[in-house]
Symmetry: C2
Subunit: 436 residues, 2 copies
């Protein structure tokens, strides 16, 4: 038995950063000059398999997250990967059970971001060993296996494990036909590339035209710094995309509750589908108050929602019309599955946050799993797409006419090219050493 | 003008840890073996003044917080302290305005804990330069000056700055007489020292007897691991302390909502004054659901409440009967002032979390300021007291008959002795190098 054990032999954590602030890609009212970054982890097992995982940050402080990734991953070195595979829910709880580390969150901030990288790397490793892309690995699990991935301690008042099993069992008969649909048609996307706040009106107009020409059904604009500017920019966008396509706005948390309502009111003539991150991601009651006032525009949030407990409350309070979970802000696949289950039980579509570094690569798997096994629906569901940095991934997303095509390679599509890691490693890679 | 400028010359960040896990001091159902620690900061100004500040953790990971403290404090080096003194609210917003760092929270977890150490060190420096203990420095400010310390962006839906000024102005005429009361009688405390979960029944009984003999009016027990044990321990405690003294319980976040209600119900015969941390500190709606079910026992929480936005909601939802803010979990004095104002406006008493390393030393200032200038009341208000580690502080708390006496030395009572820093520095101080 011991002889057959497959252990995790070693871990390597890398601080990798892209100097995106130079071009204002990714600029918004809150994040005026991000350098898109990843705290990146490689796990190597003694059967030769590797697991790759990361979490996303926007620059300074990525060294802290990388240090936390390394320390958390140290707990895995020497562990039997088959033990982990046999109880992936128990693994997640074990990883989060160190009380001294927990104090630093709990379940939020730097240590939770770091935990995401570790959990995601383990899932990449497990999916590769199973020879399946992650979405399929999940979609092939039984309802009980899926439910057992989740830590239910703080969630039962909104959804019990038994109710979750029942929900998944109702969807089980349709899994095969939905998998076929997915392989044939892919999964719908929307683009944020047009609307970064730092871009000029001319660039905004040009990018909106290009988005329409490329077949996008919807466009999202960053707002929240100046209302007059935002009225002008929404007018430009709506004129170009026409009355049918969807227009979303995103304030990136810059507004208080009353200002958010004022903003939505001033922009309502432009037919806003959703209003994203109107205020603090911690403010469940604030989002609920905004949601009650701005219909038919729906509130969307999630990229900064720290854990499943916050999503649970947003859903309980009727505070969101769209759930924008983040594959790296939540502590990896297990917690994302928890949120997919909660959202499905509350009838709220999940439209994951993406962009950044590699978030598109990850969340496509979560949405496809959601479609096949959890919500069973693509209605009102779109995955964010931003055309940045995909060239650095070994298995990048493949878009086709505004839709994500199904990933087929085993794993979680998380692997960054070795030459990218060497070039963009902070602070000693040539891209950065040349700047200092 | 430039010649008179007083700059912050340098900063020193120290990872200091006490091996408290060896004796199970501080053990509870969630935190089974903490090593009480501080991420400690010294700021040195070129007029010779020093500012000392820290945040509290329970061991592993303190190196991350210390690294974050150092990086955040680097932003202060070279800054004019008189500029900071002229706009302490603007200083707080500036310190929290780096969008790349903000991404790692926002306003929570490791970077927020680190920010607390930096903000607290600045306030210690400012109070020393003013020649006043911190509580008095705050209590001598005008209502508008106090309100200007706060970042109101996400708080206005619960309390406007104008309402806060009005609240403070109503209390202003009584400040002088309340200051006299305070100097004469001190501020009421309660002890947690008796009830750590790792202690045996015999030790619990002995410590409860000692608490009564020492004049304590109330005792708090840790619960949440096993209900039968907790019933037995509460019975022991209630028998010893008698029917008049107050008994509180603290589950340290171990329970879900339904279990918390079950626990409170099983223990209600013992006359529980408050039920502390029944569930996840992120669960505003969960605390509200518990509060609705367990009266007359009141819900208390706060030591893990990450920021003022969470406290705002707990107050808005009627979820807490006691607000247990933490001087280091919140980002220092400014954010604590925000929570004191919100709590006073909602009529909820603030009973700060203390214990740990130096938390008693800090929060006595906050509660005394609250009494003199904000709530104007000591009713239902007690500051936690734990008799650990005070010997390491230059200006430790002085207790008199179960009450905190008024600190008189200038500053925030945050300074740890130089010999302690040398001895307990992690990992190279002799206390730790001898263990490895």
């Amino acid at each position: 038995m011991l002889l057959d054990m497959v252990r995790i032999l070693e871990r390597e954590a890398v601080d990798v950063r892209f100097p995106t602030s130079a071009r204002l890609d990714g600029s918004d009212a809150m994040n005026e000059a991000p350098d898109y970054s990843a705290a990146y982890l490689v796990l190597r097992a003694d059967d030769g398999t590797e697991g790759h995982g990361f979490t996303f940050t926007i620059g300074r402080g990525n060294e802290l997250v990388t240090a936390a990734v390394a320390t958390i991953a140290d707990r895995l070195v020497g562990r039997d990967i088959e033990d982990i595979e046999a109880d992936l829910g128990g693994f997640w709880r074990w990883l989060h059970s160190d009380s001294q580390w927990r104090w630093l969150g709990p379940d939020k901030g730097v240590i939770h971001l770091a935990s995401a990288a570790v959990v995601n790397a383990v899932w990449d490793l497990v999916a590769k060993r199973a020879g399946k892309p992650l979405w399929q690995l999940l979609a092939d699990m039984s309802p009980q296996q899926i439910v057992d991935l989740v830590d239910w301690r703080y969630l039962r008042d909104a959804l019990t494990p038994e109710q979750a099993v029942e929900l998944l069992e109702r969807r089980a008969p349709g899994r095969a036909s939905r998998t076929e649909l997915l392989r044939e048609h892919g999964y719908p996307a929307y683009t944020t590339s047009a609307g970064w706040l730092g871009y000029s009106d001319d660039k905004l107009a040009r990018l909106c035209k290009e988005a329409v020409a490329q077949g996008w059904d919807s466009v999202k604009l960053k707002v929240g710094a100046n209302l007059d500017d935002d009225v002008r920019r929404c007018r430009i966008a709506r004129e170009i995309i026409g009355p049918e396509r969807k227009l979303m706005i995103d304030a990136n948390q810059t507004l208080g509750v009353a200002d958010a309502i004022r903003w939505a009111s001033a922009l309502e003539d432009f037919g806003i589908w959703w209003f994203e991150e109107p205020t603090s991601p911690d403010d469940v009651l604030g989002h609920a108050a905004i949601a009650r006032r701005i219909g038919p525009t729906r509130v969307a949030t999630g990229e900064h929602c720290q854990n499943a407990v916050v999503f649970k409350q947003l859903l309980q309070a009727g505070a969101i019309g769209f759930c924008q979970l983040d594959a790296c802000r939540l502590a990896g696949v297990n917690e994302a599955v928890a949120v997919l289950l909660l959202a499905a039980a509350h009838g709220v579509p999940v439209c994951p946050h993406a962009g950044g570094v590699g978030l598109c690569e990850l969340v496509q798997h979560l949405s496809m799993f959601d479609f096949v096994a959890v919500s069973g629906s693509m209605t009102d569901r779109v995955v964010e797409y931003v055309d940045h940095l995909h060239e650095h991934f070994v298995d990048p997303v493949r878009m086709d006419g505004g839709r994500y095509t199904v990933p087929t390679a085993p794993g979680y599509s998380a692997r960054i090219k070795a030459e990218t890691l060497a070039e963009y490693r902070f602070p000693d890679g040539p891209v950065w050493s040349a700047r200092s």
